[in-house]
Every structure is written in C-alpha cells, then in structure tokens.
C-alpha cells in the first residue's frame, strides 16, 4: 500500500512579475496535508499573489507549483481548480438563489449533496432557496465556502476570508476552518492578522516585499515581523 505524501502543495522557486514589477521572488513553500498553513505578512507583501499561483489564476514566469508531486501545469486547469478551491476576500455570489450558486458549472447535483455542503459550512438546508444577494456578508462567505465544498476539493485556498466580517462572524469562520481541517481538508489561509494565524494555523510563512522572511509556527515567524509595519 502506498501512502500519500504529507506535503500536498509545494511552491518551488516561484517568481511572479505583474505590470513590470516583481511581486514574488523565488518563493519556496510547503503546505502540509490536513493542516491550516497560514501565509502572513504586511499589506502588499505578495500573499494573495502567491495564493493565486497555487490554482493558476496567475502563471509564475519562473519556478513551479506541485500538487501531490505533479506540476500543476500538467493538470487540466478546470480540474485543478476543483481540487484546489478558493475563497476570496469579498464573498462573491452570483445572481439567483443559493442553490443555483452551489450548482454553478456542475450538472446533475442532487439537493442532498448541496445540503451536506451547506451544513458543513454552518448554514441550514433552508438557505438553498434564499436569494444569494439578500444574505449578510457572513452568511454569503459561508455560502461561498459551501459552493467550494460541493466540488469536493482537497485543498481550500482562503484569501483573508474574515477581513470584511465583524468580530462574531470572523470567530465563526475561524471555528469553521478548524472543523473543515478535522474533516480532512487542507487549508492555506492568507491573513495580515498574525493573531488569527496563531489562533487557527499550525504553520506560517512570513512574506515581506514578495520574499519569504521566515517560516515555522506562527509564534516563530512573529519574531521576524518587520518593526513598525502593520
């Protein structure tokens, strides 16, 4: 019997230039299976850019990203993005009800699966018929998580998922992150809030100006956080 490697996503010497400016320099990173890995750093440090390279929303001009030891460029992009789901900073639901949002791009999904995804995201089954545009920001973010879960991802990339939420809604999302990992998901969480990284993450990668400055536990990288920068 062969066992899966513990590192599900690996970035090797990833460099990215956008608009003539190099935003990532030779990034090496390993994201372990069934863990919450956090990417922390001040604003503009390249955290989101790195996350976008992990599901090919950005194409790094140097280096490569491996998913289960295979270069992600060898995986069909639509299949890759179902395996590596993404949650954005601002929850974006399309017009229509929650059911049509969850079913977007998927044929023949029964309500049972949709309800399971909703419940795993902390929303009741009755939300399936709710107008997606009428949800609170916190509910919309959970519906976005459910929409990603319906695709049975192995990894969930989360880009500052609580930045537009109030304290209570943020706490609920943080608790949800813990339960998703317990259910077997691997999460890469981008946050500028080191406190959040410490609360939910088992590992942290500190980026400053597109370069890895430190990696280890969130407490380890805290010492390397640049002074006077928030």
């Amino acid at each position: 019997m062969t066992s899966l490697p513990t590192d599900v996503l690996v970035a090797e010497k990833v460099s990215l230039t956008r608009g003539g400016i190099r935003v990532l320099h030779d990034i090496d990173a390993v994201f372990e299976r069934n863990e919450v890995s956090t990417v922390v750093g001040p604003s503009g440090s390249g955290k989101t850019s790195l996350l976008r390279c992990l599901n090919r929303l950005e194409e790094p001009e140097e280096g490569r990203v491996l998913l289960d030891a295979a270069d992600i460029r060898s995986v069909e992009p639509t299949a890759l993005r179902r395996r590596v789901g993404m949650i954005f900073q601002v929850p974006l639901l399309f017009s229509g009800d929650v059911r049509s949002n969850l079913r977007y791009g998927l044929d023949g999904l029964d309500d049972q699966k949709l309800v399971r995804a909703l419940e795993a995201s902390g929303l009741p089954a009755s939300f399936l018929d709710r107008d997606a545009q009428a949800l609170s920001v916190g509910q919309a973010q959970r519906a976005c998580i459910a929409r990603a879960l319906v695709r049975d991802p192995e990894v969930l990339l989360m880009d500052e998922p609580t930045s537009s939420l109030d304290k209570d809604a943020s706490a609920r999302i943080e608790s949800l992150i813990g339960s998703l990992v317990a259910d077997g998901l691997t999460i890469v969480l981008v946050t500028h809030d080191l406190g959040q990284a410490k609360r939910v993450g088992s590992r942290a990668l500190l980026l400053v100006e597109g370069t890895v400055v430190a990696s280890g536990t969130p407490a380890d990288v805290e010492e390397r956080w640049p002074e006077g920068v928030t």
Binding site: T78, R81, F88, R151
Partner: protein
C-alpha cells in the same frame, strides 16, 4: 435646380433670424450651405460612376467595410487586435446578409442596389460591433473579481465569460430591435420615406422597408454574436485564465 434655389430661401430666413438676434451663426450657415452643395455634387458624380462600373462598386463596399472596422476598433480600445475583430465581424455579418438578399434575388444584383443596401448593412453592423465589443470589454474590467470567482469554481474561461458575452450581444441588438418594434409609430424610416418621395406607392415602400428591417435584424444579430465570441477569445489566456484589458478609454 429651381427646387434647390427655392430651398435656399429658407437658409436666407435662417440668416436673417441669426443676424437680427445676434446669434452669430451667419458664417457657419453660409459655410455649411456651400459645403453641402459642393460635397453632394461631388458625391452625385462619384455615385454616377460607381453605378456604371461594378468593380468600382465592389471597391467602394470594401472601403466602407474598412472604414467601419476602423471606427469600431476605436470604440473597442483595449481589446487586443480590435481592428481584426471588428473587420471580421462586420464583413461576416453584412456579407452573410448580402449573399442571402442578392443570392435569392430579393434585390437585383446591380451596383444601384448593392451600394445602398451594403451601406445600410455595414453601418448597422458597425454600430452593433462597437456596442457589443465595448460593452464586453467594460464588463470584463468591471467584473474581474466575479469572473475570477467563476474560474476558481473550475469552469472554463469561455464558460466564465458567458453571462457577460450574452449581455453584450444583447446590447448590440437593442437599437435595431427597438427600431423594428416602433417602425411607423415613432419614426418613418429612411427607405420608406425615400421610396414615397421617389414616387412609389406606400404599400411598395412598406414592403421594401420590411425587407430591409428583417435583413438588418439578422445581420446585426450575427455581428453581435461574432463580436462577443471574438472579443471574449482575445481576453482568454493560457491555463483557462481571463486577462483583463490593460488600458480602456
């Protein structure tokens, strides 16, 4: 000539009104009148030539398509290869309509018919191309985050752009649909008025106008669809990504 001289009386009235009320439009009125007379005399002579010589007529149609594509391309600034997109859309849509209309002998295949029908088609397809292409470009710029949210759910770039392409194609069709719905109620269209003034019966004029409107509906629908398909393709990058326009204006 007597009719032209008579109509100049009305220009003279406009000049008097302007002078008495110190509107300062006298110079512009005279200039506009003289220019209109010279331009129309030249155009009449050219059209005479074009109506006699088929190769000149074909050349004029191509020139019209080129100028229309250039005009549309300027409206689609920010779309890579905008001129090629506009030219393909305008030539394909007006070409299909011309083949159908002249091939079935709905109109006689003569320069006298080819030039005005070609002009109407190219002009309307140009408008549809400009409207649909610029709308889709704007949608991609304004809805970049929404498009990426769709891509992140594992759909192809073509699928992710579908809702915006559909809306943009509709935008290009709205003017001709409204014109068709309201024909005869709000305005009397050009072909109808021209035929009545030329001595045709109202029934004959209505028939030709209907043929023109239905022909335009088909051509403009093709222009809208072809434009949005081509513009969408221009923004799809490797790895099922959507690359928003770099500059829009």
């Amino acid at each position: 000539m007597r009719e032209v001289a008579t109509s100049l009386i009305l220009v003279a009235i406009a000049l008097v009104v302007s002078f008495r009320n110190k509107l300062g439009l006298e110079k512009d009125l005279v200039l506009a009148t003289v220019r209109a007379m010279i331009q129309l005399v030249i155009v009449a002579a050219l059209i005479d030539l074009v109506f006699e010589e088929s190769p000149v007529a074909a050349g004029l149609i191509l020139l019209m398509a080129g100028i229309a594509a250039w005009t549309s391309a300027r409206r689609m600034k920010g779309v890579p290869g905008a001129f090629e997109v506009a030219l393909t859309s305008i030539v394909l849509s007006s070409g299909v309509a011309m083949v159908v209309m002249f091939g079935t002998e709905a109109f006689p295949f003569e320069p006298r018919w080819l030039i005005p029908i070609g002009g109407i088609l190219i002009g309307n397809c140009m408008n549809a191309t400009s409207l649909a292409g610029s709308r889709l470009r704007d949608e991609i710029v304004d809805k970049t985050l929404e498009v990426e949210a769709r891509l992140a759910l594992g759909v192809s770039a073509k699928e992710a752009l579908k809702p915006y392409a559909r809306r943009s194609a509709t935008t290009g069709l709205i003017p001709i649909i409204d014109a068709t719905k309201n024909v005869g109620i709000i305005v009397l269209p050009g072909a109808f008025v021209g035929m009545i003034l030329g001595g045709a019966s109202p029934r004959e004029a209505a028939e030709v106008q209907l043929v023109v409107l239905f022909m335009l509906l088909g051509a403009v629908a093709i222009a809208g669809m072809v434009t949005t398909i081509l513009v969408a393709r221009r923004f799809i990058g490797a790895g099922e990504r959507v690359l928003p326009p770099k500059s829009v204006g």
